[in-house]
């Protein structure tokens, strides 16, 4: 049994931010949670799914984020509390539905939880969900620490019910994935009943049909809801101030930057000079609260990650308040004091603060920096961003790369999001030539495949993961087939949502809660769409390449499913299919005829180049025993023996 559910009121637990969010939702009495996996958000749904075995809670990994929002909305419409969870890009996907939802309004409390990734630590963009709060015209809450992550979550549901609309609760990587102490509250033992009422008057928010029309009226209503939220924000306990009555500088911050700012003030030894206004309610801004603080000083430093969202909103407000509070000087991103992209850290904030205070702040002893750089250069091995040992993607891209090179018609691959995104790097033999959103590889390929009439005669290939196929690959494939686009779609089927930790998807016979579920068969779907479909195992590159060559020469839409379970999957973990070994006598090493193909080009981390003996060796600890290197060794020096 998990502490997440069993933990009693008043207990203090070490919780990851995402667990704190999940506990907050449980304390709010959430009934339905839906999401699509994406770092750093995934653990929220995973934790709730785990708890769902102990209480009446419905949790699902939806096919994509838009559907997750729709599933959660249905629960709200039926009077239940619900949430939908996704990473920042997910909000882009869900936004079409959400833009309608915020007009129609909600009933049971409904919270949208996007987890942003400043610095794009595990993302291929640095987009932010905050701007969506403004676009959707909904309140935005941003917890500044782990306790708040839990407490604010509960409050978010109450707020949603108060204004009868969606509330955005935004986390970031350093909050979702770090851990801290959280004092627990009560989990209510209620038994909410679902009932969808629709027989009331069309404008009745609780009894009528739930539609976005009449739009002008509903839009006005939506703005009223926002005003109401703003009034509640004025007295929110999640907006706090610490510092002197009349600080030299007022530092306004929120979210993960709160902790950096606190530390920066300490690092600058500036407690007496700097006041810290931490906002938990960042849109719409609580105007009266801001007015009160603006009156106390003339210099404002705004500390937030990525774009100047709060800074710009504050500036608009300050201009409106100027007749009463006077003209203020703002420091932040637009002034160049705080970087406009990437993650922040205490050093960056301290440097900015010191600069404004006229102090000097050296984040590190320069001597230490030099020494550390030297040590790293001489003693640390160079490690590229690469696929795991035994990863089927390395094998798949080996074949895709080689077939396209042999084919020699300047063919190329369009990709999208998954571990396979890394194939634009040398670890995937630099095979991907376009890389965009979920499912975009096939959509972009579908477009390329229609450029024949303008002279494009390069073979067009897309890659798509199995989870991505269901998420948004299917419409792209349908488009390509309907428009007779000439493409070969490679589905890299590693039997799970591999990158985020093997969450289930519609192709698997299990759902998020661990229940048996009907598995949708990808080849059958593709055939039904009208594609020519082949299936192969990328660990058998010769056969794979033969099939791929053949498909590449055929006109129309072809689908090649490269199927091999992820090396890290629970089913495979620690089990080697083969014991690998290198015959030192046969290994050609650096000689003409090989020149270190396995360790210089293929570069599976399980292979090591022995600089003394000038031969390749197997790192038995790391090797996953997939056998692929035996298939590529040009001299047959690498052999595989079935593992016992």
């Amino acid at each position: 049994m998990s502490q997440l559910y069993e933990g009693k009121k008043g207990e203090k637990c070490l919780f990851m931010g995402n667990q704190a969010i999940a506990r907050g939702a449980l304390e709010a009495g959430v009934s339905v949670a839906a999401g699509y996996p994406g770092t750093p958000s995934s653990e929220i749904i995973e934790n709730l799914a785990e708890v769902s075995k102990e209480t009446n809670l419905y949790v699902e990994w939806s096919t994509n984020e838009k559907i997750a929002a729709e599933v959660a909305a249905a629960a709200s419409f039926a009077g239940l509390r619900s949430m939908c969870v996704m990473k920042q890009n997910g909000v882009n996907v869900a936004s079409d539905f959400l833009l309608h939802l915020v007009l129609s309004g909600t009933r049971g409390g409904m919270v949208l939880v996007p987890c942003d990734d400043p610095g794009a630590l595990s993302s291929i963009n640095e987009g932010e969900a905050r701007h969506f709060a403004k676009l959707l015209e909904i309140p935005l809450l941003e917890p500044g620490d782990f306790q708040e992550a839990k407490d604010m979550m509960k409050w978010a549901f109450e707020l949603s019910e108060e204004i009868r609309n969606l509330v955005m609760f935004r986390s970031v990587t350093r909050l979702s994935h770090a851990s801290g102490s959280v004092e627990l509250g009560e989990i209510p033992q209620t038994d909410p009943k679902a009932q969808f009422n629709y027989n009331g008057f069309i404008l009745d928010p609780m009894e009528g049909p739930i539609v976005s029309a009449p739009v002008a009226y509903k839009h006005g209503l939506q703005q009223d809801k926002l005003k109401k939220a703003q009034e509640l924000f004025e007295v929110s306990p999640f907006n706090t101030y610490v510092g002197p009555e009349n600080p030299e500088i007022l530092l306004i911050t929120s979210s993960g930057a709160t902790l950096y700012s606190r530390e920066a003030i300490q690092l600058c030894n500036a407690k007496d000079k700097v006041g810290l206004l931490k906002l938990g309610t960042t849109f719409p801004l609580p105007a009266k609260l801001i007015e009160k603080h603006l009156k106390t000083t003339d210099k404002i430093l705004v500390v937030e990650e990525v774009l100047p969202f709060m800074e710009e909103n504050l500036k608009v407000l300050a201009q409106e308040l100027a007749p009463r509070v006077g003209q203020k000087t703002f420091f932040g991103k637009r002034s160049g004091n705080i970087p406009i992209t990437g993650e922040l850290n205490p050093d960056l904030v301290a440097t900015a603060l010191a600069g404004i205070l006229g102090q000097t702040y050296a984040p590190q002893n320069p001597e230490y920096t030099t020494k550390a750089t030297q040590q790293a250069f001489f003693n640390a091995p160079t490690r590229d961003l690469t696929f795991c040992p035994g990863c089927p993607h390395r094998a798949s891209f080996w074949s895709i790369h080689n077939v396209l090179a042999e084919d020699n018609r300047e063919g190329f691959v369009c990709g999208d999001i998954g571990c396979y995104s890394m194939a634009f790097l040398p670890s995937g033999f630099s095979t991907l030539k376009t890389l965009h959103a979920m499912g975009s590889g096939t959509g972009v390929a579908s477009g390329f495949g229609k450029l024949g009439q303008f002279g494009l005669n390069q073979p067009v290939v897309s890659v798509c993961g199995d989870s991505t196929f269901f998420h948004s690959g299917m419409p792209a494939l349908v488009n390509a087939i309907h428009h007779k686009s000439d493409i070969t779609m490679v589905i890299l089927d590693n039997s799970g949502t591999g990158m985020t930790g093997f969450q289930s998807h519609p192709g698997l016979a299990v759902d998020a809660q661990g229940n048996e579920a009907p598995a949708l068969d990808i080849p059958t779907i593709c055939r039904a769409f009208g594609a020519t479909v082949e299936i192969c195992d990328p660990f058998y590159p010769f056969k794979t390449q033969q099939i791929f060559h053949r498909l590449l020469e055929m006109p129309g839409v072809k689908v090649l499913i490269m199927r091999q379970i992820c090396a890290l999957s629970p089913e495979k973990k620690r089990k080697k299919a083969f014991e690998m070994s290198v015959d030192k006598e046969i290994c050609l090493g650096e000689n003409c005829g090989c020149n270190k193909l396995c360790t210089r080009v293929f570069r599976c981390p399980g292979l090591r180049w022995d600089d003394e003996t000038k031969v390749a060796t197997i790192d038995e600890v790391i090797c996953a025993g997939c056998g692929m290197c035996a298939a590529i060794c040009p001299s047959g020096a690498i052999t595989r023996k079935e593992a016992a």
């Binding site: 090179a405 084919d407 020699n408 003409c592 005829g593 020149n595 080009v601 040009p634």
Partner: protein
């Protein structure tokens, strides 16, 4: 011979469009492959010297060194190259009739060499639909399947390299002049490989004025609506100016002007029409369809011809003097044209400060070719 590796090979040959797809660089290592008549590089290799560059017939070929090695004398620039005898020939009664290009001489000689175990296998060029398909054959029956000219440039030497790697020795190879040049360079063990063993014991060279880009030929035949299985392709002597394609569904003539457009660029600098570095060279006889011209160049070649004749594989006759003269003239003209082209492109005897050459030869030989 100046030695370089993959980087320079790519720059000099692929980069300048000189690759004729002979297969000399293919399957020596994992980096060069061939697919549907085109040579491709899969990954870069950072070695400073490599067999790929050393064997390539379009990269730094030292004519004096390679002729010295194969014939005992530096390159002389004579029209049909070093030789012992010239005949006209055709397959004898021992050779089963099949679809020969002319007299069936090549098939007869290969059959004789295989039957007498002079060679363990022969690397020949068959067809896979409309693509040339080089293969190692072990019997005279299999050899017959490959009879007839293909006209498409074929990566025949890829098979030689692959089979050599697998340990096959005493191979016979039917080679175009560029391929015969590559084989001759291979035989010199230019990279001083310690464990080098020459896997080739017989080279039968083909006369060649040019080959055609295999993929472009396939596309041209498609464009011309030529249906069915190709039985034979031929370029009748002037003034015909056509390329004749015979399939099981009929005969089509394509104007040579259209066909010339798909000749690989690399053919234009080739000075060799008669495969001068082979043991035996075989081609057409002007105006006689059932015969071949046969040039015996080495002792080994002479012995095989003698054996083939005595065992009934081959019939030889004297070739008329004016036909030898005309052959020499045509061959001499190809040399002149090619070397002029190479000079114009800066690919002949390129000074060190101007980069690398495709070919190097003595001024004496050049003077003989271009008086």
């Amino acid at each position: 011979m100046k030695l370089f590796a993959q980087t320079q090979l790519l720059e000099d040959v692929q980069g300048k469009g000189l690759c004729v797809g002979c297969g000399a660089c293919v399957d020596l290592c994992p980096y060069f492959t061939t697919y549907r008549g085109k040579t491709a590089m899969l990954f870069p290799c950072d070695r400073e010297t490599g067999r790929c560059f050393a064997y390539c017939p379009k990269a730094e070929v030292d004519y004096d060194a390679v002729y010295q090695f194969r014939t005992g004398r530096p390159f002389q620039g004579t029209p049909i190259g070093p030789h012992i005898e010239v005949f006209k020939a055709r397959a004898g009664e021992k050779q089963t009739e099949c679809s020969f290009q002319c007299g069936g001489t090549v098939t007869a000689l290969i059959s004789c060499a295989l039957d007498n175990k002079i060679i363990n296998g022969a690397v020949l060029t068959g067809s896979d639909e409309r693509m040339p398909k080089p293969m190692l054959v072990r019997t005279a029956d299999q050899a017959q399947q490959c009879a007839g000219s293909k006209y498409s440039a074929s990566p025949t030497l890829a098979v030689m390299n692959k089979e050599a790697k697998r340990g096959v020795r005493k191979m016979g190879i039917v080679a175009t002049p560029c391929q015969a040049t590559a084989i001759a360079q291979m035989k010199m063990n230019p990279t001083d490989k310690e464990d080098f063993e020459d896997p080739v014991s017989l080279v039968i060279g083909l006369f060649c004025t040019w080959a055609l880009d295999a993929r472009k030929l396939e596309a041209l035949l498609e464009e011309k609506g030529i249906q069915g299985t190709i039985i034979k392709a031929d370029v009748p002597p002037p003034p015909a100016e056509v390329f004749v394609v015979e399939t099981d569904q009929g005969v089509t003539e394509i104007p040579l002007s259209e066909v010339r457009k798909i000749i690989p660029e690399g053919c234009s600098i080739c000075p060799d029409m008669t495969s001068e570095l082979a043991d035996i060279s075989v081609g057409q006889v002007e105006g006689e369809t059932g015969y071949n011209t046969l040039i015996v160049r080495t002792e080994k070649g002479a012995e095989l011809v003698k054996m083939a004749r005595s065992q009934g594989y081959l019939v030889t006759e004297n070739l008329d003097g004016d036909k030898v003269h005309n052959l020499a003239q045509a061959s001499g003209n190809k040399k002149k044209r090619a070397l002029a082209q190479a000079q114009e492109k800066g690919l002949l005897n390129t000074p060190d400060d101007a980069g690398r050459a495709a070919m190097r030869m003595s001024q004496d030989a050049l003077n003989k070719i271009q008086p």
